[in-house]
C-alpha cells in the first residue's frame, strides 16, 4: 500500500476540520475525492503534504510503510509526494529553470545521488514542456509571476512531470480551466500515470474525470469519507448533486 490513512483528525486553529478519516491508495490507482465546499478536501491534501498550521490531533498517515505525521514538507516531497496547488504561489525573480533545477537537485541530494548536469537538465525540461504544451519562454519567467490562471495550472503539471512523484495530489487543478487547458492537464496526468505511482484528484466537478478516469471515487462530507465507489459515482453526483448525501449525514 502506498498511502494508508487511519482515523485522521486535523484541526486548524483548534477547529476540527477532518474528523476521523480513513483512506488508502495503492500504486497504479487513481482516486477522485469529491464533495461540497468546506468539507475538508484541501485540508486533507495539506495534511498529507505537511503544510504548517494544520494540526494532526489524532490518527496516522502512513506512506510507503512509515508514519509520516512528523515529517517536514520537504522530506515528504523528496520521498515522492507531490501537490498540484489549487492556488500556485508566485516567487518573483526566481526563474522556473532555476526553481526546477534547485528542486531536482534537492531531491538528488536527499537520495545521495550526484547533481543533475546542465545538459541533462535542459533535455528533461524540453521533454516535459512538450508534455504539457508549455511555451518555451514560460521557463525563463519567474515562478508563477504574471502567469494566467491556465498557465499556472499547466505549470503545476509541468513540475509534476519534472519531479516524477510516486504520489501526486491534484487539488482542484481543473478549477478555472477552459476545456483546452483541461485536456492538456488531463493528458499530462495520463501520460505520467504508471503502475509505480498513484494520483489523488480533488475536484468539485465530474468534468475532469471524463479525461482522467478514476479507479475510485470518494465523497467527503463533514471531514470524513462518507461514500466510495467506482467512476459511476461521479456521474451520479453530477446528476443528483450533493444534497442527498448531506441529507443522509446531517442527522
Amino acid at each position: 500500500m502506498l498511502l494508508n490513512i487511519k482515523n485522521l483528525h486535523v484541526s486548524i486553529d483548534g477547529k476540527e476540520i477532518i474528523k476521523g478519516l480513513n483512506f488508502s491508495v495503492n500504486k497504479g490507482e487513481i482516486h477522485a475525492i469529491m464533495g461540497p465546499n468546506g468539507t475538508g478536501k484541501s485540508t486533507l491534501a495539506a495534511a498529507i503534504t505537511g503544510r504548517g498550521g494544520y494540526e494532526i490531533t489524532e490518527g496516522e498517515i502512513i506512506y510507503k510503510g512509515e508514519v509520516i505525521n512528523e515529517w517536514s514538507p520537504d522530506k515528504r516531497a523528496n520521498e515522492g509526494v507531490f501537490l498540484s496547488f489549487q492556488y500556485p504561489i508566485e516567487i518573483p525573480g526566481v526563474s522556473m529553470t532555476n526553481f526546477m533545477r534547485t528542486a531536482l537537485n534537492a531531491r538528488r541530494e536527499y537520495h545521495g545521488q550526484p547533481l543533475i548536469s546542465a545538459k541533462e537538465f535542459l533535455k528533461k525540461m524540453e521533454e516535459k514542456k512538450k508534455l504539457v504544451q508549455i511555451q518555451s519562454k514560460l521557463a525563463n519567467r519567474s515562478v508563477n509571476e504574471g502567469f494566467s490562471g491556465g498557465e499556472k495550472k499547466k505549470n503545476e503539471i509541468f513540475q509534476m512531470a519534472m519531479l516524477e512523484p510516486e504520489l501526486a495530489i491534484l487539488d482542484e487543478t481543473d478549477s478555472g480551466l477552459d476545456i483546452d487547458a483541461l485536456k492538456v492537464v488531463a493528458n499530462g496526468v495520463n501520460q505520467l500515470k504508471s503502475d509505480e505511482n498513484a494520483f489523488i484528484v480533488i475536484t468539485h466537478y465530474q468534468r475532469l474525470l471524463e479525461y482522467i478516469v478514476p479507479d475510485f471515487v470518494h465523497v467527503m462530507y463533514d471531514g470524513r469519507i462518507v461514500k466510495s465507489g467506482g467512476k459511476g459515482l461521479a456521474l451520479e453526483l453530477e446528476e443528483r448533486g450533493y444534497e442527498w448525501i448531506k441529507e443522509q449525514f446531517d442527522d
Binding site: 503534504t49 505537511g50 503544510r51 504548517g52 498550521g53 517536514s72 514538507p73 520537504d74 516531497a77 523528496n78 507531490f82 501537490l83 496547488f85 500556485p88 504561489i89 508566485e90 516567487i91 518573483p92 525573480g93 526566481v94 532555476n98 526553481f99 534547485t102 528542486a103 534537492a106 531531491r107 536527499y110 519567474s142 515562478v143 513540475q159 519531479l163
Partner: protein, 484 residues
C-alpha cells in the same frame, strides 16, 4: 631595501618620534598610543613619510573634526564611541602564520565552504601559510605587468603619495572634502592606507581590478582611503571587498572613497561588505561609517555603484553621485541585509547639476531577526539641470515580525523640466512561498536563499559574474536560521 634594514629604519623612526612627540610607543607593536591629538596626526604623517601639503591637509581636517559632532540623524543606535580610546596607527605587522586549517575557527571554515572559496584562498584569508604555487606575489606581478602596459596606475595610496604626488594632490579631497561630515573629517586626519587608481585617457582597463584586490588587499584598514580617477574616455570596473567573513579587531571603521570621471569616462564600483556583524545576541561587530562619492565631472561620464552589504553591526553609508557634466549618468544598486541585531542606514544621493543628467536608484533591503534596515536617499535637481531624470525603486523585504524596514526618500527639484519617479514596496516572505518551495523538496534554509536571491536579482545581476555567484550564496548564509 632589505627587510631587515627597513625594520631597522622603522624602529629608529619610532624611537625618534617617541622622543620628539612625547609618545609612549610600544616599539615591538609599532603603534601609536591610544587617542587622537594633533600629535597623532603628525605621527602618522611622519611614519608614512608624507610631504608637507598632506600633513597640512590632515591637520586642517583634524582641527575641523574637533568642531564637529557625531551625526545623530541616522536611524542607528549604539553606545557612544570613545574616540580617545582608539589606536590610530598600527604598522602592518606580519601576522602569526597558522600551520594549517585545523587551527581556524570551525564556524569560519564552515562559511568558507558554503561560499565555495577555494582551499588556497581559505588559507590566505585566514592567515595560513600559502603554498608557493598560488603565491600572491607572482599573481600580483602578472597583473602589474598588464596594468603597466596600459599605463594604468594602481597602487596603495601611500605609494601614490610618494610616486605620483601631483595626481594625489590634484584630486584628494575634491569629491569628499574633509569638511563634508564628521567621519570624513576623521578619516582625512588619520587615514591609514587604501587604494589609488588612475586610468589614462582612452584606456579601457582590461581586467576587473577586483581579482587583484582580492588577492592582495584582503586586510583593508580601519581608516581606508580610496581615490579613483578615470580620465577622458576611459573605463574601469573596480571591486572592493570580499564575500568571505572578515574579522577585524578594530570596531570603528570610517572609510572614504572618491571617484572622478572625466569626459566620456565610466567607472563601475562594486562592493561586497561582509565585516563581522557581531554575535547573534548583538555583542561586538564592526561600526562601519563610510563616505563614498563619485563626481561625474566630464560630459557623458558615468559612475555606477553596486553594493551588497551583509556584514557589520552598524552600516552608515551613502555612495553618491554628483552629476556635474552634461549628459552624465549616476547609478546606485544596493542590497542590504540585516539579521539578528544588525543595523543599516544606507542609500544614496544623486545630485543633478548638469543638463540631461540621469540617475537610477535600485535599493533592496532585507531585514531579519531583530534588525533594522533603512533606506535613506536624496535626489536633488539644481536650477540649471534641464531635463534631469531620476528613477528610484526602494523595496523592503521582511523576514519575521521583530525586524524593521524604513524608507526615507528626499526629493528636491529646482527645475521644472525634471522628471523624478519614486517607487517603494514592502513585502514579506510568506509561509505560502516557503511551503511551495518545500513541497518541491527544497528545505527551508535553501528556500529562503532562493526567494531572497530572486528578490535581489536586479542588483546581483550588476555584479561582476564570478562575484554574483558568491554574493548569492552569501545572502543565503547571512540569513541562515532567520526563519523559525
Amino acid at each position: 631595501m632589505s627587510d631587515e634594514k627597513k625594520n631597522k629604519d622603522v624602529l629608529e623612526e619610532v624611537t625618534t618620534c617617541e622622543y620628539k612627540y612625547g609618545f609612549v610607543t610600544d616599539i615591538e607593536s609599532d603603534q601609536a598610543a591610544k587617542g587622537l591629538t594633533e600629535d597623532t596626526v603628525r605621527f602618522i604623517s611622519k611614519k608614512k613619510n608624507e610631504p608637507e601639503w598632506l600633513l597640512k591637509f590632515r591637520l586642517k581636517a583634524y582641527r575641523h573634526w574637533l568642531t564637529l559632532k557625531e551625526p545623530e540623524w541616522a536611524l542607528l543606535h549604539h553606545p557612544p564611541i570613545d574616540y580617545q580610546n582608539i589606536i590610530y596607527y598600527s604598522a602592518p605587522k606580519p601576522k602569526k602564520e597558522l600551520e594549517n586549517l585545523d587551527e581556524i575557527d570551525p564556524e569560519l571554515l564552515d562559511t568558507f565552504n558554503k561560499l565555495g572559496i577555494s582551499l588556497e584562498e581559505q588559507k590566505r584569508l585566514s592567515g595560513v601559510a600559502v603554498d608557493a604555487v598560488i603565491d600572491s606575489v607572482s599573481v600580483k606581478t602578472t597583473f602589474q605587468d598588464t596594468l603597466a602596459k596600459h599605463d594604468i596606475i594602481f597602487c596603495s595610496i601611500s605609494e601614490a603619495v610618494q610616486n605620483h604626488p601631483d595626481l594625489v594632490k590634484k584630486y584628494l579631497g575634491t569629491v569628499v572634502p574633509y569638511t563634508d561630515n564628521f567621519f570624513a573629517a576623521l578619516n582625512s586626519a588619520v587615514f591609514s592606507d587604501g587604494s589609488f587608481c588612475y586610468i589614462p585617457k582612452g584606456v579601457r582597463c582590461p581586467i576587473e581590478l577586483s581579482t587583484y584586490f582580492r588577492i592582495n588587499a584582503a586586510n583593508t584598514g580601519q581608516f581606508e582611503r580610496t581615490l579613483l580617477i578615470a580620465d577622458e574616455g576611459s573605463y574601469v570596473s573596480y571591486l572592493e571587498g570580499c564575500t568571505a567573513p572578515m574579522r577585524d579587531k578594530n570596531q570603528l571603521h570610517a572609510a572614504i572613497v572618491e571617484i572622478v570621471t572625466h569626459d566620456d569616462a565610466e567607472v563601475k564600483y562594486s562592493t561586497v561588505q561582509n565585516w563581522y556583524p557581531g554575535s547573534k545576541e548583538g555583542k561586538g561587530g564592526i561600526y562601519n561609517f563610510v563616505t563614498k562619492r563619485g563626481l561625474c565631472k566630464g560630459r557623458n561620464s558615468k559612475i555606477s555603484w553596486t553594493q551588497v552589504e551583509t556584514g557589520s553591526a552598524i552600516t552608515w553609508k551613502y555612495p553618491s553621485c554628483i552629476l556635474l557634466g552634461d549628459n552624465s549618468v549616476g547609478e546606485f544598486y544596493s542590497v542590504a541585509v540585516t539579521n539578528n541585531y544588525q543595523q543599516a542606514d544606507t542609500g544614496t544621493k544623486m545630485i543633478h547639476l548638469g543638463k540631461n543628467t540621469k540617475s537610477t536608484i535600485i535599493s533592496k533591503g532585507i531585514s531579519a531577526g531583530r534588525s533594522n534596515n533603512s533606506y535613506r536617499g536624496l535626489v536633488r535637481v539644481s536650477k540649471n539641470a534641464d531635463n534631469a531624470r531620476n528613477y528610484s525603486q526602494c523595496d523592503s523585504l521582511l523576514l519575521g515580525d521583530k525586524c524593521g524596514a524604513h524608507t526615507f526618500p528626499y526629493i528636491k527639484t529646482g527645475n521644472d523640466t525634471a522628471i523624478v519617479e519614486h517607487e517603494a514596496t514592502t513585502s514579506k516572505i510568506s509561509d505560502d512561498q516557503l511551503f511551495y518551495c518545500q513541497q518541491r523538496g527544497i528545505d527551508k534554509e535553501k528556500a529562503i536563499g532562493l526567494i531572497v536571491n530572486g528578490y535581489a536579482k536586479q542588483v546581483l545581476n550588476k555584479l561582476p559574474m564570478e562575484f554574483a555567484m558568491e554574493a548569492q550564496k552569501l545572502l543565503a548564509i547571512t540569513l541562515e536560521g532567520s526563519v523559525g
